[in-house]
């Protein structure tokens, strides 16, 4: 098995917690993983991405080759499109629909949605709304997103739950449960819309 994914967003949106859950999920189950992330300058509200690679074979490159990603998982719709050159033919683009607007020339939302609809494989999900209304915590939107991408990740779903448990265990059962609920909500949406 092998899954390569680009996780995208804007500095400050917390995409690294998604990567961390995946990382623990992989490592605790004796899979190989590499995860390259952005630190420094662009964390101030610029575009940030993390390359996440999981495999049962050794992994060499920390970077995913162009046209090599099985999934683009983005917590922001415009950022999702920035990484299209990395998406494999037949790969899935999974993105949050809530824009993060901190620039003047942000594209019209309608056009963004139109572009995403023109792709062969995508999940467009309002993770912010689902987190708030269905899960009960706006902050859990990152794990709604991970849930939405989970049908396409070749890592057993239980591993992802374990990963979440591991990163939040210090914060108590409530926080763990909330984020696992988010994971399920995202997955349910993706199963219904893929």
């Amino acid at each position: 098995m092998k899954t390569d994914m680009v996780i995208a967003g804007v500095g400050g949106q917390g995409i690294l917690s998604i990567a961390a859950a995946l990382g623990f999920a992989a490592l605790d189950n004796d899979l190989y993983m590499k995860q390259a992330e952005t630190h420094g300058m662009s964390q101030r509200g610029g575009d940030v991405q993390s390359f996440m690679r999981i495999s049962d074979q050794p992994i060499y490159s920390d970077l995913i080759p162009k046209g090599g990603a099985d999934i683009i998982l983005s917590v922001e719709p415009m950022e999702a499109l920035r990484y299209l050159p990395f998406l494999k033919k037949g790969g899935y683009l999974v993105t949050n629909s809530t824009p993060f607007i901190n620039i003047n020339d942000y594209p019209e939302e309608e056009k963004l949605v139109e572009t995403i609809h023109s792709l062969p494989n995508y999940i467009l999900i309002d993770a912010d709304r689902i987190a708030k209304e269905e899960v009960g915590s706006a902050r859990a939107f990152n794990f709604v997103m991970l849930g939405a991408a989970s049908p396409f990740i070749e890592v057993p779903f239980e591993y992802l739950e374990e990963g979440i448990r591991k990163i939040f265990c210090k914060k108590g059962d409530d926080v763990v449960d909330m984020n696992i609920k988010a994971l399920h909500a995202g997955r349910k949406f993706a199963e219904e819309h893929k």
Binding site: A36, Y60, D62, K66, G68, R82, P85, P107, L112
Partner: protein
């Protein structure tokens, strides 16, 4: 065995801790910062009483590490590539003094300049100083090399450079941890004059360094981290350095590269392996991250060898390596995904909402407009984002501290008033010595130290300037009535403007210190406080 999930930089830190390090010395700089932060947060390091406080700049860090090595203990100094320029005087001379306790200089290069002013390759410095260089290709090697580096350093009595680049620094993988070794006891150098670089002694020490070169080369030849891999297709051989090796193997995932390979992770180059590959193969391709250091060496000025790489366009001359770039060089076809749609806009970094630097630039811009633009010299930090719209407020960002001295030089040339905008940490890093020059000549410059009580650009480390700025300026000789501390908030806009204008009209050195804590640092500090309170409450 259970593996730990570590960034490349964290693997180095853990390796150094397990390798018997007694102290890490550093000034923050992307992508090297997390080495020191990891040691600061490590319970194991705390129990072992390992030094990990920040230094004022890279030079003071390097010198402190050398002092620890002098005393017989193992020390690591960490910096980003441009930090080595600041530490270079000590670095070059430490190669001559040699080390007593193991000494590793870890330098993190930033090809493609993700967060830097240039993409200089520290291997050039390593070669310049004629010391061994370690260049890990993955996180596991990073861990092992930190341990090994101390042994190598002590075996030859030499400082050792560990060179990494952004990708390895900030990429995570599972790392197997080995048992820790104990720290060294205090033990002074046998030769009490070893570190006294008077010409007579320095000449002797230099000859020793020269005679050590053969040993360094032999060590690289035997190194566990370098190897020769046979291949059947001798039309080409490949020398792959550091993470260049990963990008090569990425293109042969089953390990079936047909060409012979020399993998290099320890320098000086393993000569016999290089000679063998060049004798056996029609062509030699060099894959290296950064400058064409090895390629240039092999090719020579007269380009006699059939060496290809970054110099002849087989690979891009600048920027970091990528798997695609290497695939193309190997003549493989790559299937790119779709193009980026036109509607995707650039999203450059920007100052946070509520950041105090906003208030400084808003006021400064209005004042400068009256004198004519093009007179604001600035420096490196979050406030450098004032160069971008909407402010377009600054005209320089060169090296840490240069704002003060460039303003002075421009004022000397007649650009009056000249203004410097510098951060609190940058000021104590390298701005204060320049200020002394300005004071001694009564240069007509206005220095704005935009004090957010934090080293913010690199993640909010404690600033050595905290609570000391007015005293430093006064001590250096700025007149008391020309040192002002202000609160940079929108309400005080007019007051700040008036102050800047008044001091711009003064024909001497003035220092204005707008002081308000960085928004992000404040959030982090509050969180830490809250957590500490909760812990205390739980105990009680």
């Amino acid at each position: 065995m259970q593996k730990s999930l570590l960034l490349g930089v964290e693997a180095i830190a853990q390796g150094a801790i397990d390798g018997g390090m007694s102290g890490v010395y550093a000034y923050p700089g992307t992508p090297s910062t997390e080495i020191t932060e990891y040691v600061q947060h490590s319970k194991q390091a705390k129990e072992l009483n390992i030094h990990s406080k920040w230094s004022a700049n890279e030079k003071t860090a390097m010198e402190s590490a050398l002092g620890m090595s002098y005393a017989g203990k193992r020390a690591m100094v960490c910096m980003k590539h441009v930090g080595l320029n600041v530490a270079a005087d000590c670095f070059m001379n430490a190669a001559i003094t040699g080390a007593n306790g193991g000494l590793i200089i870890t330098v993190a290069d930033d090809p493609s300049m993700h967060s830097s002013q240039n993409e200089q390759d520290s291997r050039v410095y390593g070669k310049f100083a004629m010391i061994p260089i370690l260049e890990p290709s993955n996180q596991q090697e990073a861990y092992e090399m930190a341990r090994f580096g101390f042994e190598l350093s002590e075996a030859f009595g030499t400082p050792v450079m560990m060179r990494i680049t952004t990708r390895l620094a900030h990429s995570r993988a599972g790392v197997s941890i080995q048992e820790a070794v104990a720290q060294n006891e205090l033990k002074l150098p046998e030769d009490k004059l070893q570190f006294v670089l008077l010409p007579g002694i320095a000449r002797k020490r230099y000859k020793m360094l020269l005679s050590n070169q053969e040993k360094f080369e032999a060590a690289a030849e035997d190194s566990f981290f370098n190897f020769y891999k046979e291949g059947s297709d001798k039309s080409m051989g490949i020398i792959a350095c550091g993470i260049g090796y990963n990008y090569l193997m990425e293109n042969y995932p089953n390990g079936d590269c047909p060409y012979p390979i020399v993998k290099v992770s320890q320098y000086p180059l393993p000569r016999k392996m290089v000679e063998k590959i060049s004798a056996e193969c029609d062509q030699v391709m060099v894959l290296e991250e950064g400058y064409p250091v090895v390629e240039e060496l092999l090719k020579g000025y007269l380009a006699k060898e059939k060496v290809i790489g970054r110099l002849d366009g087989t690979l891009s001359r600048d920027g970091e390596l990528t798997p695609d770039m290497v695939a193309k060089a190997l003549g493989m076809s790559i299937e790119e995904g779709m193009e980026i749609p036109d509607l995707v806009a650039a999203r450059p970094p920007a100052l946070c909402v509520g950041c105090s630097h906003h208030d400084v630039y808003r006021a400064l811009n209005e004042v400068v407009a009256d004198y004519g633009t093009g007179r604001v010299f600035s420096d490196i930090g979050c406030y450098t984002l004032g160069a971008l719209p909407p402010y377009n407020a600054i005209n320089s960002c060169v090296d840490m501290g240069a704002s003060v001295t460039m303003a002075k030089g421009a004022a000397d040339a007649g650009l009056i008033p000249a203004v410097a905008v510098i951060g609190d940490s940058t000021f104590t890093h390298s701005g204060m010595t320049g200020l002394l020059d300005a004071i001694n000549e009564k240069a007509p410059i206005t220095v704005i130290i935009s004090d957010n009580e934090s080293i913010s650009m690199t993640g909010g480390q404690e600033s050595s300037a905290k609570g000391k700025l007015e005293d430093i300026c006064e001590g250096l000789g700025v007149e008391k009535e020309h040192i002002h501390v202000l609160l940079p908030v929108p309400k005080k806009h007019e007051e700040i403007k008036d102050m800047i204008r008044k001091e711009c009209d003064y024909q001497g050195v003035s220092v204005i210190i707008p002081r308000r804590i960085c928004v992000q640092k404040n959030i982090r500090d509050q969180k830490i406080k809250k957590a500490a309170k909760a812990r205390a409450a739980a105990k009680a």
